[in-house]
């Protein structure tokens, strides 16, 4: 693999860039692998990379129904943060954040991780209470998160409207400075390139139609559009499509898939220096390196795989953005798109072994999957390699829905009284 550097770029520039190699080969599947990972998003590709790098397992295929990085990896608003309330979540996301910080260097691929800070706005007393609970919990968990007054929030993000007469006045904000954004496609590509360099096969445009189990009930392999592929272990990391596939192995999941929409504006010169999230008003904004305002919407109300999403939701989101940042009404929306997010009843992921021997699952990330990418991939690889969960993902098991031990961040944010 050619090492990427300013020097290699310069050298290739001199020769008209004709000597660059493919970043990953487009593999034909072999008949058998030690591990098959279904879903070539950041999580799946990352898991393959860590299997190879940290566990020495290189006879691995990552199989995707489309092109790699074409699911939620390439469709999200790239927010990365770890200031979650519960210990379990904080550990998971902070593990990811630690990995994010060195990811470009580790992968030799600039994923443009930018620690611009993520600021979450409090608009009422209830928000303030809830954010304080997060702040204190984060502090004692060693996760950075700090409280800003409205004036400090405005200083951090000048377009913010902190007028006291606003419909939802800003009463303060929680800021995680280590948080930020990254270039989503580059994450998939970087992992793909690094995994391929270690011998992982990346098989694109090859839908997996079923998981096959042997007479003992253990995993035997996967049925695909290009035939059966034998594997001792299968990890499913297929986001919104996971439950349909797991059904074929007889594992029913508490998942529902919802459309999630996002949009970007036309590019403008730097105006928005951080990420701002307002859960109360439903506005999530950042500005990409290219200059586009990147805006996330909430999920639509009905389950769907259509990747379309409705107009009312977008109207509401844009109105919310204009409410919090009134200078943006004359900005123009360039493009909006939809993804499919898989949501569990407690909005926390399921990342663990399953009742089926040799079958592992990583799903249910809802709207929060991108930020977890390196962390989730890393512990998924551990779980698959050792056939036991890493302490970080141990709590994210399927059985919690039976016992009632939910990890419900959203419920903890609760509802207004």
């Amino acid at each position: 693999m050619t090492r990427f550097s300013a020097l290699s770029l310069l050298k290739n520039a001199m020769t008209g860039h004709k000597d660059w190699e493919p970043q990953w080969p487009d593999s034909e599947p072999k008949q058998e692998y030690d591990v098959v990972i279904v879903g070539a998003g950041g999580h799946g590709l990352g898991a393959a990379y860590y299997l190879a790098k940290e566990h020495g397992i290189t006879n691995v295929a990552v199989i995707d129904k489309g092109w790699l990085g074409g699911g939620n990896t390439g469709r999200n608003t790239t927010i990365i943060r770890s200031n979650y309330l519960y210990d379990e979540s904080a550990r998971m996301y902070d593990h990811a954040l630690d990995l994010w910080e060195g990811l470009s260097q580790e992968l030799n691929y600039n994923v443009m991780f930018s620690q611009r800070g993520v600021m979450m706005l409090a608009h009422n007393v209830h928000d303030v209470q809830s954010f304080h609970r997060h702040l204190h919990s984060n502090r004692l968990n060693g996760v950075d998160n700090q409280w800003l007054t409205p004036e400090e929030a405005k200083a951090y993000c000048p377009p913010l409207n902190i007028s006291k007469s606003a419909r939802y006045p800003v009463m303060g904000a929680a800021l995680q400075r280590r948080a930020g954004t990254a270039r989503h496609d580059a994450v998939a590509w970087g992992y793909a390139r690094a995994a391929a360099a270690r011998g992982v096969d990346i098989v694109q445009n090859c839908p997996v139609t079923a998981i096959r189990r042997d007479s003992n009930g253990a995993v035997e392999g996967v049925e695909t559009a290009r035939g059966f592929i034998r594997a001792k272990k299968v990890a499913v990391s297929a986001a919104g499509h996971t439950s349909v596939l797991m059904d074929t192995a007889g594992v029913r999941l508490p998942l529902e898939s919802y459309p999630l929409q996002a949009l970007v504006s036309e590019p403008v010169k730097p105006i928005f220096p951080c990420v701002v999230m307002s859960n109360t008003v439903h506005a999530y904004v950042s500005q990409s390196d290219k200059g586009e305002l990147v805006v996330g919407a909430g999920t639509d109300q009905y389950t769907s795989y259509s990747q379309r999403g409705g107009l009312p939701h977008i109207q509401h989101t844009v109105a919310a953005v204009c409410e919090v940042f009134p200078i943006f009404t004359r900005m123009r929306m360039l493009r909006k798109w939809g993804g499919i997010v898989d949501v569990t009843p407690d909005r926390s992921p399921i990342l663990n072994k399953t009742p089926v021997q040799g079958l592992y699952v990583n799903c249910g990330w809802g709207t929060g999957g991108f930020k977890a990418t390196p962390g989730a991939a890393n512990v998924l690889a551990w779980t698959v390699a050792r056939d036991e969960p890493h302490p970080i993902n141990a709590p994210f098991h399927l059985d919690r829905f039976r016992t009632g031990r939910l990890i419900d961040e959203a419920a903890a944010a609760a509802v207004a009284h």
Partner: protein, 997 residues
């Protein structure tokens, strides 16, 4: 008259000059001009700089697909807009426009250094570098990249304009007012269907506006157009210009953006700037025509290089010649006609350079007649000129080999790489496209919605064919909408049918690595970038797009997608359809946030619900807090008081004598019917059967998961009638949940639910003097302690108003809640307030209410519970009917984790130092000496300074909390470590003596 204006030509008003400014210089245009046509008339071609290389750029198109000519426009304070397409913006007297993405000025831009270093800035270069040293990415590299990118500047001030919305229902919506759309609208309307016809342009006509030489049904094109529009009006067609169909959603739901004021010099104050129309159409006819593709060759981006069709539009519609000396480079017949028209208008056409070896004889002849040199079988291999093209390098091609170059001097290079159907809206519906080998284009295939594609949108060429097709599609749509179709026939003379061929980048005799042949103009993506991406393994068109950013500029790939695909397909070695086409996404053209927000801005962003007593609170200086959609009086500060002082005073006054509180926001549901009590038993944890009419009880509602969802006091007015109260934020949710169970699980129950939240204004009187004040007002109910015991309810009259009167207490004091019809709420409040003066009645707000209830250990759902708390966790097992066999959530309470030890339980906390008020949300630890991460055992859910007790109090959810009573725990705060003792939740009057008044 300006240098390039053609006298008496075009649809502009030559008698109405318009003054405008570009980059501080004044120019004159004509009414009807766009900014682009007016600048071209003045010989101005340099309008902007490109995104990455800061290359000088001019005007490429004459429509909304323009990638280059983006400017900032200003119409007074707060009305700055970046990235306005000069090809769309109509000029008006006083319009100010400025160029973007350049420093210090447009003609000399320091950023153009990037252009010299272009070899470094190949596709995806940023993924390969800027990684060392690690800290430099955020401090150095990224800020540099960001500063260089971004085109225009964002607006800096709030926008004084307003934006509007309308919903519209119609039988048939026709998108596109060109020949196909016009004939479709007419045939559909003649069948009796209701028809709406929209076009993004300032006037209808589409291509007809650029080809006045046509004769349709014996009339000159523009006369025919005028007649057609008159006929549509008579047929009742709603014709909407300046209206862009931006998105095509489920079940023929389309969004249109109508621009109302940006073209006006002065607009009435109440006129919205834009209006978003949401249309539901029975049938949709898409007649969006086709887009002309550029040719891809080295230097195809210099100012002065323009699409031939655009030049034709400028000439005929605006009466402007795109230059004096043109070279036309084309692979399609259409550009020949542009050349002829310009020649006929007095421009010099140096040559027509056609990539095809054998253009038709008719065209050659027409060129010869005009003295235009024809270079067939040629390629274009370069251009020159710093800020405007001054020469074109062309070479013959024989059997794939490129011959010697010839340089042609010019000031305008017009090009055409053929046309591609505009199918963006069709793509929004997830309609599928098929590749048509003959036309080298994607054409519509399977449709997912009830729509019909007409004219050039499905690959037809020539106005007669398009008119005919539009007519048929219109009739087809009408028939599908249930009307009897009627179609007509058209005869067109001078129709310019034609054909062409499709290219990837044009062949060249120069080193391909050096060629700057642009595919995506705005994003500076060249043909070699696309080939590099493929070389690096990006074999799906989506990868190519994302790696190179081809097609991601503000033209949404309208000009670049097809050329990009042809090149990528060639590089991959597959047919174009195998490499795929990227999805087109809404909006069709960039659309303001304001248009999407519509009315939902400022005061109309979201409703602020106010109680009937809100106005009194406002007049009396209340500070408000938002609680769900409501605003509630938070506290009533007197002169000089801060919140803490006001709340302390309000608390003391209430406990000492009398407080008055507006509780109108509490949700209220009337539950009536023979099965009302059974329904209550099933919904709430408590038993209801034995609750006598006239009495009330605290009710606890769980979710089916066993966690607390809501609570409130519930009064039984008669055997079959309950008055339920809910939390303020829970009102709608609880009613929905009840309806859900009632309608879908227990439809057999004879019971009905009605929301009465807003029927009643609710006033709470609290304090030892509550009865004394209230008693004189009450008729029909004896208020004495014996006759109206704690937890009673009665229907009576208060101050002459019909009332539902509760005796209950959320403060621990003697307390009454009086519900009167909302219209009387304020009047009753005022009467009670006046009568209360003798007891120093004190109006208090939500904060005091919170303190008073916390002193008594009453929970606030959503504050002391968080969706993970069971009745037992909250210490409210007493509220769960022990003998009940089922209620909502009961089964979940016995799940393993809900009965496991170590659950968090609600307890009281008293800090060692009573002057310390713990932060709400503060985390509690058992061992303060551990290192981070610390093991936390719970958190403080409520915390106040209690003026009554003269110290702070807190409620907390602690692991095994009830077992910790009496023990010490620690709260590490940034201000220091605080020791606290775990206590019972009731801090004040634990025996409830104060209720016995």
């Amino acid at each position: 008259m300006t240098a390039f204006r053609v006298a008496e030509s075009g649809r502009v008003r030559h008698d109405r000059p318009v003054e405008f400014q570009f980059d501080g210089r004044s120019y004159q245009g004509l009414e009807g001009d766009t900014l682009a046509s007016a600048l071209l008339a003045n010989g101005v071609h340099l309008l902007g700089r490109s995104f990455k290389y800061h290359r000088p750029r001019g005007i490429l198109t004459a429509g909304s697909e323009e990638p280059n000519a983006l400017v900032g426009t200003r119409r007074g304070p707060g009305r700055y807009e970046p990235n306005t397409r000069a090809t769309v913006q109509e000029i008006w007297d006083g319009l100010q426009a400025e160029s973007q993405n350049r420093y210090p000025k447009l003609s000399f831009d320091l950023g153009a250094i990037n252009d010299r270093l272009y070899m470094l800035f190949s596709a995806g270069f940023y993924y390969k570098t800027f990684m060392w040293p690690r800290s430099f990415w955020e401090r150095v590299y990224e800020p540099l990249i960001r500063r260089a990118a971004g085109l225009g500047k964002a607006p800096q001030e709030p926008d004084p304009d307003h934006y509007a919305e309308r919903h519209l229902h119609t039988d048939i919506l026709v998108v596109g007012g060109g020949p196909a759309g016009l004939s479709a609208a007419r045939s559909a309307a003649k069948s009796g269907a209701r028809v709406v016809l929209v076009d993004e342009s300032a006037e209808m006509g589409g291509h007809l506006l650029s080809e006045p030489g046509l004769v349709i049904d014996g009339q000159p094109a523009w006369d025919w157009l005028a007649g057609m529009l008159e006929e549509l009006r008579e047929l009742g067609v709603r014709v909407m210009s300046r209206t862009t169909a931006i998105g095509y959603y489920h079940q023929n739901f389309l969004a249109l953006c109508e621009r109302l004021s940006d073209h006006l010099k002065e607009a009435p104050a109440d006129l919205p700037r834009e209006r978003l129309w949401q249309v539901r159409a029975g049938q949709v006819v898409l007649a969006q025509g086709a887009l002309e593709k550029p040719l891809v060759f080295d230097g195809n981006d210099r100012p002065g290089v323009m699409l031939a069709g655009a030049a034709q539009t400028y000439l005929h519609r605006y009466g402007v010649r795109a230059g004096d000396r043109h070279v036309v480079a084309t692979s399609h017949d259409s550009a020949w006609h542009a050349a002829f028209d310009l020649s006929d208008a007095g421009s010099r056409v140096e040559a027509i350079v056609d990539t095809r070896a054998n253009p038709s004889d008719a065209l050659r002849e027409a060129a010869r007649d005009r003295g235009i040199r024809v270079l067939s079988g040629h390629t274009v291999t370069g251009t020159s000129g710093r800020l405007r093209v001054n020469a074109v390098r062309v070479n013959p091609v024989h059997d794939g080999s490129v011959g010697p170059a010839e340089t042609l001097g010019c000031d305008s290079l017009l090009m055409s790489g053929g046309w591609t159907p505009s199918l963006h809206l069709f793509s929004h519906t997830k309609g599928t496209l098929r590749w048509d080998d003959e036309s080298d284009a994607f054409l519509p295939d399977q449709q997912a919605e009830a729509c019909h594609i007409a004219g050039a949108g499905r690959g037809l060429w020539g106005v007669e064919a398009v008119l005919q097709d539009g007519d048929l599609r219109g009739a087809e749509a009408a028939e599908a909408a249930g009307h009897k179709p009627e179609s007509g026939a058209f005869q067109v003379e001078n129709d310019r049918t034609g054909s062409g061929e499709t290219h990837r980048e044009l062949p060249s005799d120069r080193k391909p690595g050096r060629a700057r042949a642009f595919v995506d103009y705005q994003n500076d993506v060249t043909a070699k970038d696309i080939r590099l991406a493929v070389r690096e393994g990006m074999k799906s068109i989506e990868h190519v797009k994302r790696y190179t950013t081809n097609g991601m500029a503000t033209d949404q790939g309208k000009l670049s997608n097809m050329n990009g695909l042809m090149i990528a397909a060639d590089a991959v070695g597959k047919a174009p359809p195998q490499v795929g086409l990227t999805t087109f996404r809404p909006p069709y053209t960039p659309t303001t946030f304001g248009a999407f927000a519509g009315y939902h801005r400022g005061d109309h962003f979201e409703v602020v619900r106010k109680t009937p007593i809100d106005s009194w609170a406002e007049e009396n200086g209340a500070v408000f807090e938002p609680v769900s959609q409501w605003r509630r009086a938070w506290y009533f500060p007197r002169q000089g008081e801060d919140m803490e002082a006001a709340v302390a005073r309000e608390c003391l006054a209430t406990r000492k004598s009398l407080g008055i509180f507006d509780a109108s926001t509490l949700g209220k549901i009337e539950i009536a019917g023979p099965d009302a009590v059974e329904f209550m038993n099933r919904m709430y944890t408590n038993p209801w059967t034995k609750l006598a009419p006239g009495r009330c009880r605290y009710g606890l509602l769980l979710g089916e998961d066993g966690f607390i969802r809501d609570d409130g006091v519930i009064g039984r007015l008669s055997d079959d009638l309950f008055h339920v109260t809910t939390t303020t934020g829970g009102a709608a949710r609880v009613l929905t949940m009840m309806e859900d169970y009632l309608q879908t699980e227990w439809p057999d129950l004879n019971v009905w639910l009605t929301s009465t939240t807003e029927q009643w204004a609710t006033i709470a009187l609290n304090g030892p003097n509550a009865r004394r004040v209230l008693e004189p007002f009450v008729e029909g109910q004896d208020l004495s302690p014996e006759a109206f015991v704690h937890m009673s309810v009665a229907e009576c009259r208060v101050a002459g108003f019909p009332a539902r009167l509760f005796r209950l207490s959320f403060t621990g004091e003697l307390s009454f809640e009086i519900n009167v019809p909302a219209r009387y709420g304020r009047a009753l409040w005022e009467k009670l307030y006046e009568a209360g003066q003798q007891y120093d009645v004190c109006p208090y707000g939500t904060e005091t209410m919170h303190v008073l209830r916390a002193e008594k250990g009453f929970i606030i759902v959503g504050q002391d519970t968080d969706g993970t708390v069971t009745p037992d966790d909250a210490g409210m097992s007493w509220a769960v009917g022990k003998k009940k066999t089922d209620f909502v959530g009961m089964r979940s309470l016995s799940r393993p984790d809900l009965v496991a030890p170590g659950r968090k339980q609600l307890v009281g906390l008293l800090t060692e130092d009573g002057s310390v008020r713990l932060d709400e949300g503060a985390q509690v630890v058992a061992d303060p000496n551990q290192s981070v991460p610390m093991a936390m055992i719970g958190h403080v859910s409520s915390s106040y300074h209690s003026a009554t007790l003269g110290r702070s109090i807190a409620l907390a959810l602690l692991k095994d909390g009830r077992n910790l009573k009496g023990q010490e725990v620690y709260v590490p705060l940034p201000s220091g470590l605080h020791k606290a003792r775990v206590t019972d939740t009731v801090f004040y009057d634990p025996e409830g003596e104060r209720l016995k008044v």
